[in-house]
């Protein structure tokens, strides 16, 4: 439900420091994290930010490593914008938005080396653990990216490696007590700018009115491990500073909930 003058009305309201749902400009909706939501998965979590909901599942399989990294396990992040979450999502091959989301979250996890893939090696050149993280959108009420990012990390933390039997094969029916070798926890926070106002955790409507957005993944309040700018409006460097600052501040708050 958006057009130019509806957007201007929203923009004016934000200028006065008011959001349509009564939140402060930098306020996140309530965050709920539930783990073990899919028992066959080696790790799983559902995260809700307000009414936005994403389910993450981690599958860990024993496989042959890639030739060029014989001593490393593998990691892959996949996302699906399921049509259940939004009447505008279509079934079929992945949309560019779902690809972008998967790749941004992947970079956050991979570039921060949050999982030490060398520790996923079982027998060099022969057997490694292959980690597949799948993100499924359940309901889109805005800010799928931050919700999916958090679900991915929660699912990774929840994951347990499969038991290995006497012949050295994985026994997927039983989970061991060992989790994944997690070194760091990347948290993504996306900040949007509408008109001249910057906000955190946009609602669906605010996303539709958004001029530009900046996703910042961090592993601590000082270290950024991934970034992605979206939207068509160009940002001044002062705006970028302000948005990064807010993103890092919010990430620290969220880290406490994890």
């Amino acid at each position: 439900m958006m057009n130019q003058n509806i957007k201007e009305h929203l923009s004016e309201t934000l200028k006065k420091g008011v959001r349509y749902d009564g939140r402060k400009l930098d306020e996140f909706r309530s965050i709920e994290i539930e783990t073990d939501v899919s028992t066959p998965a080696e790790g799983s979590a559902t995260v809700r930010i307000g009414d936005t909901e994403v389910m993450a599942g981690v599958k860990i399989e024993m496989q042959k490593p890639y030739d060029d990294s014989a001593d490393s396990g593998t990691l892959m992040v996949n996302a699906e914008f399921s049509p259940m979450a939004d009447p505008k999502f279509e079934s079929g091959p992945p949309s560019i938005d779902s690809i972008e989301l998967a790749r941004v979250i992947d970079r956050g996890i991979r570039e921060s080396e949050s999982i030490d893939v060398k520790k996923l090696c079982i027998v060099e050149g022969e057997k490694v653990w292959s980690v597949g993280i799948d993100l499924i959108t359940i309901n889109n009420a805005g800010n799928l990216l931050d919700c999916a990012g958090l679900a991915a990390v929660a699912a990774i933390k929840n994951a347990k490696l499969p038991e290995v039997d006497k012949e050295g094969n994985a026994d997927y029916k039983h989970k061991s007590k060992n989790g994944l070798p997690i070194e760091k926890e990347p948290i993504s926070v996306t900040i949007h700018v509408i008109g001249d106002t910057i906000i955190a955790d946009p609602s669906r409507e605010e996303e539709e009115a958004s001029d530009a957005r900046l996703t910042v993944a961090s592993i601590s309040k000082d270290v950024i491990c991934a970034m992605q700018k979206g939207g068509s409006k160009a940002l001044t460097v002062e705006q970028v500073d302000e948005m990064v600052d807010l993103a890092l501040k919010k990430a620290e708050e969220i880290r406490k909930i994890l």
């Binding site: 439900m1 057009n3 130019q4 003058n5 509806i6 201007e8 009305h9 929203l10 309201t13 006065k16 008011v18 349509y20 749902d21 009564g22 409507e205």
Partner: protein
């Protein structure tokens, strides 16, 4: 066989639920007869009108009806007129002659009247068997919308949001000082000078939507509104 009513007024029933047995009762909206019984065919509230049994759906998409006032969005412009998305499986046409009381020349720039992406308040003139809809914008209250915010509510709840002779909607307008236009298709437009009051109007409408099936709604909303406004002043 003795006729027996198995439910009562305002009961919530589901599709396939048996409402009455025997031949004395008559099926109507939302119900059907199978052999000796009457069943519901929708999830909704039971209405008993003497011997006539109806079930009114609690939820469901909007199906266009003649004389309904709805809020739509202009999606395309052709020489015949403007195509309006009325947030229903069926879209509508605002024919040239219904677009204005001015005489519109052939070949005139129709965007001068309504442009693509404009939101408009229109009235349904006709719906044919294939559900093709014609609308008009000539009439009291019908117009192009400027600014404000739009929300989507359950179209089945619209009568409760409007209230008997507009009692509920007026309650909201008076207490919040906002303009509110409710489309029968569940699209609601709100505009006020004070964004906090706009927020309150929106919140109130959502509250009505959630509590519509509970009796005593008007009084409850009246009390609640006075409370909320009192708290803010």
């Amino acid at each position: 066989m003795e006729s027996k009513l198995l439910i009562k007024e305002r009961d919530v029933v589901i599709p396939g639920e048996e409402l009455a047995s025997g031949m004395d009762f008559l099926p109507s909206e939302g119900t059907y007869r199978l052999e000796n019984s009457i069943y519901s065919k929708v999830m909704g509230l039971v209405k008993v009108d003497g011997k006539v049994l109806k079930v009114r759906a609690l939820r469901g998409g909007y199906l266009p009806k003649r004389n309904d006032t709805v809020i739509g969005k202009v999606t395309d412009i052709m020489s015949a007129g403007w195509f309006i998305d009325i947030f229903s499986p069926y879209n509508s046409l605002l024919p040239l002659k219904e677009g204005s009381s001015d005489f519109i020349q052939r070949g005139a720039d129709l965007t001068r009247y309504y442009d693509i992406e404009d939101f408009v308040v229109v009235k349904i003139l006709s719906v044919n068997a294939q559900k093709q809809v014609d609308v008009t914008i000539k009439g009291p209250g019908l117009r192009k919308l400027k600014g404000g915010r739009l929300i989507k509510i359950n179209s089945q709840k619209v009568p409760r949001v409007i209230g008997k002779q507009g009692s509920m909607i007026n309650l909201i307008k008076e207490n919040t000082g906002t303009q509110v236009t409710v489309g029968q298709n569940g699209i609601v437009w709100i505009k006020g000078e004070d964004p906090l009051m706009e927020n309150l109007a929106e919140k109130t409408i959502r509250k009505i939507e959630a509590e519509a099936h509970i009796p005593g709604l008007t009084d409850r909303i009246g009390e609640w509104l006075k409370d909320q406004v009192g708290g803010k002043k």
